[in-house]
């Protein structure tokens, strides 16, 4: 009896071998991809950290001298660009939310059989290179063009130039043009997560709110909007993060007065070749964004973004 229940010792070995092999499967699946991310994402950050505390010249080479002064100097010299980046990216994010929410709502609840058509139209701009589309804004906002003319005759430009968003009769080469470009470029990244979270809402909840004498406005405030929070959080992150580091819109639609921190990093790295300053700037930007994102996610209370 006991001989039957006890596994023979000889058979034990292959079984354990197989289970070891089986236990290794997840690691075989993970290792190639993770190695790629470690070598080409994490390791570069270490190299950049080391570069940011080096001193030297391009001809003689750079040495690590723990020169943290670079950080302070870089921040002192370029803090207007930092402030501008956060301001422009923040404004663009708010505008994306205000513009994107009605469209996401329309697709989720009101579009009916037009839903797929509108969804395709939201994604369709992606199929044309974003640089070409950003250049198109140069045409749309051109001096003396129809848009500027209309804004001028409605006296909108008087108000916006009084506020400092535009200058005289121009929209191009002003903060408004850059923010307009940023808003446009990242709008689909706001609409799609909003739509996904709105579409999941059970329509019976709306009916229930109506049955309980809630006005449409109250229903929106107490039911729809809170339930769409995951979409709001991921949409604002997907808009704010890339916008804060962008330099394309400032370069193509702005002037030297609208340069953002991305422009500075780009020119320090690729034209001035002052690697320590560029590395320090890029680290400061990374730190600011990561801290803001962490605080924001904590406060909004959604951890399951991945």
């Amino acid at each position: 009896m006991s001989a039957l229940t006890e596994a023979p010792p000889a058979a034990d070995l292959p079984v354990r071998k197989a289970s070891v092999r089986k236990r290794l499967v997840p690691y075989w699946l993970l290792v190639p991809g993770l190695l790629w991310l470690i070598v080409f994402f994490a390791l570069p950050l270490v190299y950049q950290a080391s570069t940011s505390v080096q001193t030297g010249t391009l001809e003689k080479g750079f040495q690590v001298t723990w020169h943290f002064q670079t950080y302070w100097d870089a921040f002192k010299e370029y803090y207007p660009q930092f402030v501008r980046s956060l301001l422009y990216a923040g404004t663009a994010t708010v505008l994306c939310l205000l513009l994107g929410y009605p469209l996401a709502y329309l697709i989720a609840f009101k579009a009916g059989r037009w839903r797929n058509v509108i969804l395709v139209l939201v994604i369709a701009p992606f199929f044309t290179s974003f640089l070409i589309r950003t250049l198109a804004w140069k045409t749309i906002l051109a001096d003396g063009g129809p848009v500027v003319h209309a804004l001028n005759s409605l006296h909108v430009l008087d108000v916006t130039s009084w506020l400092g968003f535009t200058e005289g009769d121009r929209v191009l080469a002003t903060p408004m043009a850059v923010v307009c470009g940023l808003t446009y470029n990242f709008l689909p990244f706001m609409i799609l997560p909003l739509y996904t979270s709105l579409e999941r809402i059970d329509s019976r909840l709306h009916e229930a709110a109506g049955d309980l004498y809630a006005t449409p406005a109250t229903t929106f405030r107490k039911v729809t909007f809170p339930l769409s929070m995951p979409g709001v959080v991921s949409g604002t992150l997907l808009t704010f993060i890339p916008a804060s580091g962008d330099y394309v819109n400032a370069e193509l639609l702005g002037s030297t007065d609208q340069k953002m921190v991305g422009n500075v990093i780009q020119s320090q790295f690729l034209r001035v070749l002052d690697y320590p300053t560029a590395a320090a700037l890029s680290f400061i930007l990374m730190a600011i964004v990561l801290v803001m994102v962490t605080v924001y996610i904590r406060r909004a209370g959604t951890e399951d973004l991945v």
């Binding site: 499967v25 991310l37 701009p125 991305g262």
Partner: protein, 264 residues
Amino acid sequence: MRWLRRNVIVIAGLATLAYLILPNVVVMVFSFNKPNGRFNYSWQRFSTDAWKDPCGVADMCGSLSLSLQIAAWATVGATVLGTMIAFALVRYRFRARGAINSLIFLPMAMPEVVMAASLLTLFLNLGAQLGFWTILIAHIMFCLSFVVTAVKARVMSMDPRLEEAARDLYAGPVQTFVRVTLPIAAPGIVAGALLAFALSFDDFIITNFNAGSTVTFPMFVWGSAQRGTPVQINVIGTAMFVIAVVVVVAGQLAANRRANSAKA
């Protein structure tokens, strides 16, 4: 007035849609322009010259084919590596899960310029020759996380009983994977691959840092914003747009027809 108040959301939504579509319309219209001088920013007169000679600009079509090649390889690389990671994350338990999740999440939560600059630092320190390979490496790196996210969502919503049923019916592990698991996960994998292709093809910032003197299509457009924008850029932009919309609509129609015939 009441009609206006009731439809305010529809009107606002359609206005946003117009804002999104307007630049594409402008790109399309200006592909038929015949500009005076080097820049194609103001309307002069109708012409189909650029459409008759889309590759008439030096180096443009070369950069386009380079971008397509890089996007194709980056899609293959990122989709294979990302799908493997996604399966491992959903199906297995192991240590350091939190660290692995943040390693995958961080590239998506970082301004592109930071990744671009640090990757260039690595390549400069290693003395790597900037060009095709450094661009490809960078593209696989930033596409990877997006593929993982797309595939993971699909695999997570899979019913595990289907695979159990396959195994109960004497399918081996390989057969189960090929015949059951892979077909169910396919929409997620395809979505991830399409996303990777689009991200890679249209990437500018990371490529700008790590390309050296190699010119991809977005780099060509960027350069032309300084040197003069040929009308052919708009032709390529419009053609890509039309092709993609046709493919999407055809795919949708095919799916509808399949759904209808399945019903009948």
